[in-house]
Amino acid sequence: MKNKQCVAMLLAGGQGSRLGVLTGKLAKPAVPYGGKYRIIDFPLSNCIHSGIDTVGILTQYKPLELNDYIGSGKPWDLDRSNGGVHILAPYQGKEGGDWYKGTANAIYQNLGFIKRYNPECVLILSGDHIYKMDYSKMIEFHKQSGADCTISVMEVPLDEASRFGIMHVASDDRITKFEEKPKEPKSNLASMGVYVFSFNMLEKYLSEDENNQNSSNDFGKDIIPAMLKAGEKLVAYRFSDYWKDVGTVDSLWEANLDLLNPKIHLNLSDPKWKIYSRTSELPPQYIGKTAKVENSLITAGCDIAGNIDYSIIFENVTVEQGATVEYSVIMPGAVIKKGATVRYSIVAQNTVVGEGATVGEEPDYNDAHEWGITVVGEGVKVKNNAVIGAKQMLRKEEDGETV
């Protein structure tokens, strides 16, 4: 193998249980986003634009659709004879094998893969964030600062900081303390889950962690604290562009509608930093005579005869005459029948919303706790004239398909 300066390892094995029915059949990184993308398109496109052509994808939970989607890596220009994209699933060796016990253990089990390229550093990424980032700048920063580990961070409002892994830094941005989801945060620098490790350090601490019976084998909970305790040099790399964790239904919905917000700078049409995706062969969309479309994203294969406002419509969606879709995300192949109304909802792949049905509700500010985004799971058929309220989550049952 030819040596590589940097190898990226993408953690894609998480179940994504907070996304409920949306990850019933597929891993979180394969969840559709933004009209024609999957979440994993963002880190993969970032890699190739940053000059990183060797990427290991660590899969474990429901990998079938994700593996299929990645294929040879061609859509991201990652089909290489030297390097390229590799799916790394847990495997058996002479001494036996095991599932990935945690994020750190997943990388530990694949140290052999990394060693083949003898890299100076390893970039650790996760498959549940939407952002555009030039990793080469971060790697350069890592080298310049002589750090053992560089963690990218961004400032978040202090009252939201308790949702994140929080860094405390000295005046030179050297990390002094790390707190995972602190109840009373004293810093507003949140970890973005993007790490650059010098490879020798990564190998050392992963091996030590593996021998520690009490460890949960997690980067945030175990590896970073162990390195801090030992006095290694950990440095924060500040990032201030758009970044969003899409690990929950609400944040996934928000991140989609962010694409329609002119104040939010997530430009997906920048010719220098295109987000690549695997697309199916579909004719252009048709907007019909009775359609009314405003402030929305719509893509190939759609047939629109109804009203669309403030929504993200994926490929091959049909919206029939008299149907209304507002503040919603409609995933590939869904059919919204005549006169149906979909508001404040995520409608997953290949669902049918029956004639005259109502899905989702406008926010009720008097009863904010009861209100939430409605989710129609993959393959669900909502009956004609059914009423599906706020915050409901419909799952396709094994026996009956309709709701």
């Binding site: 062969e281 907007i287 019909g288």
Partner: protein, 372 residues
């Protein structure tokens, strides 16, 4: 497997002259069509959907844009170790011919010589259809035909030099095949897709090579008695692009759902080069109806009865009606366009409306800036 025994040939420059406005810098085969395609996408997809894995594209002029589009053949699944897509460009020296058409025929013969195939499907450029080539080749074999000519029933002849008007018997055997241009009336007209048995292909093309009029259709017409020539009717949609008028009309026919459903048959998809455009963005002031819109557009104006290719921008207050706007066209604020066909990357706008008519669309050239 019959389909491993069949090779496809596409003549990419045939009928270039019919549409000079848009073929000055490209071949007929690379003419943009239907929002995101080039004409050749239909021919290649038809062949590939029948399982054919050897496709030769004969080029002779202006084929830069075509090469750029085809690349390695990846998008049609034709990037293969064995066979796949072959571009067959002209070369200087050897036994090459100075006459373009003769040279194309010579190269077609040479290409097939190197293929281990029993049947050849030869396609001209200028027609748009979703054909079931598998069925057509099966019919060819079943009837033990030497040549099978795919035809459509049409009310009037097109302007292409190679179109034949057929007389067929009950069994579809061709009794006569005349140059359709000599006839003022319609009937059973070929659509530039012929299936040959290998020996008939060699024989007919070699005869063309040595004849005064090297047109393949001419030789077929003359030799109808000698060979077993059959017709095969394609009952679905056939778009004929033989003039700027028909380019506009055929483009507009796509607004008909039946035409779209036939041309973009889900069983036989049309493949093309993908460009990773983002979904089309409709703004707060967009008002769109009865239109075909490709990805990557940004629309904040009014669009009616139109076909917009990838990356077209319609600014606020602009009105686009009955237009075909190719990739990357920008329509400026508050301008009005009616019956306009614009080539790629033009910038159009101004106080005075730009209007053509139903019979004669206003033409904007590639990269033209038309503002005041």
């Amino acid at each position: 497997m019959i389909y491993s025994k069949t090779a496809g040939i596409i003549f990419s420059n045939s009928n270039d002259k019919a549409l000079k406005e848009f073929t000055a810098n490209r071949s007929m085969a690379s003419l943009p069509f239907a929002g995101r395609y080039r004409l050749i996408d239909f021919a290649i997809s038809n062949l590939v959907n029948a399982g054919i894995q050897n496709v030769g594209v004969i080029t002779n002029r202006n084929y830069n844009s075509l090469l750029d589009h085809l690349g390695s053949g990846l998008f049609w699944d034709l990037d293969r170790k064995s066979g796949g897509l072959s571009i067959v460009p002209p070369f200087i020296g050897g036994n090459s011919k100075t006459d373009d058409e003769l040279d194309c025929i010579l190269r077609a013969i040479e290409y097939i010589k190197r293929r281990n195939c029993e049947y050849v499907v030869a396609c001209e450029s200028g027609f748009v259809a979703n054909l079931d080539i598998k069925k057509i080749v099966e019919a060819h074999i079943e009837k033990k035909a030497d040549v099978t000519l795919v035809y459509r029933e049409a009310e009037r002849p097109d302007k292409f030099a190679g179109t034949l008007k057929l007389k067929v018997d009950k069994d579809e055997k061709v009794a006569s095949a005349e140059n359709a241009l000599l006839s003022k009336t319609g009937g059973k007209l070929t659509i530039g897709v012929h299936v040959f048995t290998r020996s008939a292909f060699n024989d007919i093309l070699s005869t063309a090579l040595n004849s005064e009029n090297p047109a393949i259709s001419e030789i077929i017409s003359e030799k109808t008695g000698k060979y077993r020539v059959y017709g095969y009717e394609h009952k679905g949609f056939v778009g004929v692009i033989d003039s700027r008028k028909s380019y506009f009309e055929t483009g507009m026919e796509l607004l008909d759902k039946e035409v779209r459903d036939d041309l973009f048959n889900k069983e036989r998809p049309i493949y093309t080069k993908t460009k990773d455009d983002m979904p089309t963005r409709y703004g707060l002031y967009s008002d769109v109806s009865n239109s075909i819109i490709a990805d990557g557009c940004i629309i904040d104006g009014t669009v009616k009865n139109s076909v917009l290719f990838r990356g077209v921008r319609v600014k606020r207050g602009a009105v686009v009606e009955n237009c075909i706007l190719m990739q990357g066209v920008e329509v400026r604020e508050n301008s009005t366009l009616k019956y306009v066909t614009s080539d790629k990357n033009a910038v159009i706008g101004g106080k005075a409306p730009i209007t053509g008519t139903n019979r004669k669309a206003f033409i904007v050239k590639k990269n033209q800036v038309l503002t005041d």
